[in-house]
Amino acid sequence: AQSVTQPDIHITVSEGASLELRCNYSYGATPYLFWYVQSPGQGLQLLLKYFSGDTLVQGIKGFEAEFKRSQSSFNLRKPSVHWSDAAEYFCAVSDRTDKLIFGTGTRLQVFP
């Protein structure tokens, strides 16, 4: 069965610092992978997605993620965090049937 693990429940960084949020997945074949962001009181917004091809994926708001098959990982990165990036981040995997399996999320706090 598919599953997603986000090992970090809560991460705190200073504004301007780099960020990496970890995501590990379990799936038999090459999955579809997604990162979503959820601000307080808001729905989820898609940051980026990986289906195939180049393993380094660029998304919105300056985020990128790298698919590493050997590590079953799809970590999200940003070189310089802004205070507005404070939110909950969810990694998700799909088996190509439109069914998304989400991780438990990582809450990002940004200090000025």
């Binding site: 997603v4 729905g43 898609l46 997605k49 998304l100 989400f102």
Partner: protein
């Protein structure tokens, strides 16, 4: 383009009472999803519609939960009777035919007292 609309945004009810949530997807999107998001967790799929047809309702607790999408546009999710454990955020999402991205609404936060 208007996003996915959900109402109400917040609902407080007493246990054993019924409650209903409404969702209007993005115009032209034929796939509609209802998700349950418990506090501190990621969303979990309850039901997926392709037009009027529920194509995946395996995670919907059918003893108390029901959903409908009669005209293949907007949808209603109902709980009757509500239990304390139903307190959560209920998210609606939609996607176009053949699309690979789901667009989420802001959700309805339900509190059962």
């Amino acid at each position: 383009e208007a996003g996915v609309v959900q109402s109400p945004r917040y609902k407080i009810i007493e246990k054993k009472q019924p409650v209903a949530f409404w969702c209007n997807p993005i115009s032209g999107h034929n796939t509609l999803y209802w998700y349950l998001q418990n506090l501190g967790q990621g969303p979990e799929l309850l039901i997926r519609y392709e037009n009027e047809e529920a194509v995946d309702d395996s995670q919907l607790p059918k003893d108390r939960f029901s959903a409908e999408r009669l005209k293949g546009v907007d949808s209603t999710l109902k709980i009757q009777p509500a239990e304390l454990g139903d307190s959560a955020v209920y998210l609606c999402a939609s996607s176009p035919a053949g699309g690979d991205e789901q667009y989420f609404g802001p959700g309805t936060r339900l509190t059962v007292t």
